[in-house]
């Protein structure tokens, strides 16, 4: 480090990292300081006793329990659609598709991955308009449409991680099946997919995290501020990220603002846990193949 330009470059790198770390710490610290005081049963259930609230015997007026349930439902529904389809597509792309098909399908997946979430929401919105004009005159936005759009949003993540996990399998492992006289499907079913299962799992968790945090899609496809627990798949619903957006724009009292900070903290814990789990699994995975 003897030349001044060297010094400038290394200082710049240090500054960048330091500033980013400081900004992130500030962001998380601010949320914790403002939000930690609100984290008790009141935040979730308001004035309703929690046993009554969870069992659905009494409605909840103040708490974020319906929003939490809405988000969990949304995530489960969209994962139920996109994880099987995404995993299967990933396997097809990696193991079965010809070079040409792979390039063509790969492009479709890339375009899907690049589609902004607001456009995905707009798709759900136009889908409802379209259904209303054609087959179902009383179609409306709600949980099922939102779940479908979120499923499309996270589908490319699942496909790409599945494909990457399969392609990272070393040649020696890949040849075990054929050497035992397995058919192609038997090799996929008994050797390749089990070997790639951790990668697929981490991709799925990542996708679930994306599904939980997305706001723009549900903004256009049926999230509302006060819906209570959804009674059916066609109902409007509440969700945590939408609740934060709504309270940030429309809070009337400082109590509501405190609730917004509490909600943000809950959402951050939820997605943070999911993302850290996914990256932990992925790191274990990298180590697994590299030690061989």
């Amino acid at each position: 480090m003897n030349r001044p330009s060297d010094w400038i470059i290394s200082t710049f790198c240090r500054l960048c990292t330091g500033a980013t770390a400081a900004a992130t710490l500030l962001l998380v610290g601010f949320l914790i300081v403002r939000g930690i005081g609100t984290l008790h049963t009141r935040l979730f259930f308001g004035e309703t006793p929690w046993v009554q609230a969870v069992t659905g015997r009494q409605p909840i007026f103040e708490g974020i329990w319906p929003a939490l349930c809405g988000t969990v439902l949304l995530v489960l529904l969209s994962a139920a659609v996109s994880i099987p389809i995404g995993t299967a597509s990933g396997i097809y792309l990696s193991e079965y598709a010809s070079r040409r098909t792979r390039s063509l399908l790969g492009f479709a997946v890339d375009v899907l991955a690049g589609t902004p979430s607001i456009v995905m929401g707009l798709f759900g919105f136009t889908l409802v308009l379209f259904l209303r004009r054609t087959l179902f005159p009383d179609a409306r936005t709600g949980l099922s449409v939102a779940a479908l759009c979120i499923a499309l949003l996270i589908l490319p993540y699942v496909i790409r991680t599945t494909q990457a996990a399969l392609q990272a399998i070393p040649h020696s492992v890949r040849m075990i099946g054929p050497s035992l006289g397995f058919t192609r499907w038997q090799n996929v079913r008994h050797i390749l997919v089990p070997s790639a299962s951790r990668g697929i799992l981490s991709g799925s968790i990542l996708a679930i995290g994306r599904a939980a945090e997305d706001t723009a899609v549900i903004l256009l496809t049926g999230a509302v501020a006060r819906a209570g627990l959804p009674g059916s798949l066609w109902d409007k619903f509440e969700a945590l990220p939408f609740h934060i957006y709504y309270l940030a724009a429309e809070h009337r009292t400082s109590l509501e603002l405190d609730q917004a900070f509490g909600t943000s903290l809950v959402l951050l814990c939820l997605t943070g846990t999911l993302f850290m789990t996914a990256s932990f699994i992925r790191r274990r995975l990298e180590r697994r193949w590299s030690t061989k």
Binding site: T17, F30, Y92, V109, I118, L122
Partner: protein, 279 residues
């Protein structure tokens, strides 16, 4: 069982066709009546019959270019720091931080900025309400930063480890390695990271919706209130106005869709050229 795999793959590809079809279907009335020209004009005043979305398009591009050019050098700096300037353990810590940042919901970035950044801009720079181009740009650059770092880092990891050894053997210090090894060998990774970050910035809704102030105009200064294409879609749909404003939203959606598809095509082109060069 195997046929179900190809059906799933077909479904995934069909999704993209469906999106394009529906957006196009709802734009058809505009094209048929020739009113598409009124959409591509420079004034948005729905009550006076002006439905131009060009200001929003321009702001979307401007804001994304600004955020990307702010985040890009920082992303490169962080990558160099994590890979070359510190021991591997500390480097991994930095990357974990990036993974964590990538996992923070967009809406939380915007929400916290309302309380930390907006008052700062309003009170210390004495400029308007604080909901401005500048505020949105800063938050957006923080949002796309982890994406760029992680993409660039993935490209760095693919580089041949022998090169690094050779550089060490030649007695290069870490900074020299950055300048003479990292930047030349990973230049395509740099371009891809920048383009991906740009795409993420264009597509983002919540930050611009919550922080940019949403006035449909071209900004005269960085502290003016602006509205992006994504925020425009969200606002018009939620306020539910007349039919022409409504249709302009479908046109905005198509514009966004084609913009992002072009970006993807660009990334593929760059990636393929790299593959060709390697083989």
């Amino acid at each position: 069982m195997e046929w179900s795999l190809s059906i799933a793959a077909g479904l995934s590809a069909a999704a993209i066709v469906c999106i394009l079809f529906l957006l196009g279907f709802f734009c058809m009335p505009l094209l048929a009546s020739g009113e598409i020209l009124r959409i591509f004009s420079w004034t948005w005043q729905p009550f006076h019959g002006h439905f131009g979305i060009l200001p929003m398009c321009a702001v979307s591009l401007l804001l994304s270019v600004a955020a990307t050019s702010l985040a890009f050098p920082v992303a490169v700096g962080i990558c160099c720091y994590a890979n070359f300037l510190v021991p591997a353990g500390a480097g991994r810590l930095v990357l974990t931080l990036m993974h964590f940042m990538a996992g923070i919901p967009t809406v939380i970035y915007a929400f916290v900025s309302i309380f930390l950044l907006v008052p700062l801009v309003r009170d210390h720079l004495q400029c308007g309400t604080g909901f401005s181009f500048f505020t949105a740009m800063l938050t957006l650059s923080l949002l796309i930063l982890p994406t760029m770092v992680l993409v660039f880092n993935a490209h760095l990891q693919q580089a041949d480890p022998i090169l690094r050894l050779a550089a060490e053997a030649a007695g290069m210090n870490p900074v020299q390695q950055v300048r003479h090894l990292l930047i030349p060998t990973a230049s395509r990774g740099l371009v891809i990271a920048a383009v991906l970050g740009f795409g993420r910035a264009v597509g983002d809704t919540m930050v611009s919706l919550m922080l940019a102030g949403n006035a449909p105009q071209l900004p005269g200064s960085p502290f003016d209130s602006v509205r992006t294409l994504t925020a425009h879609i969200a606002l018009v749909i939620s306020t539910d106005s007349q039919s022409m404003a409504y249709q302009s939203v479908f046109a905005s959606g198509l514009v966004l869709f084609f913009l992002l598809s072009t970006i993807n095509l660009l990334i593929r082109r760059i990636g393929r050229r790299q593959g060709g060069a390697a083989s």
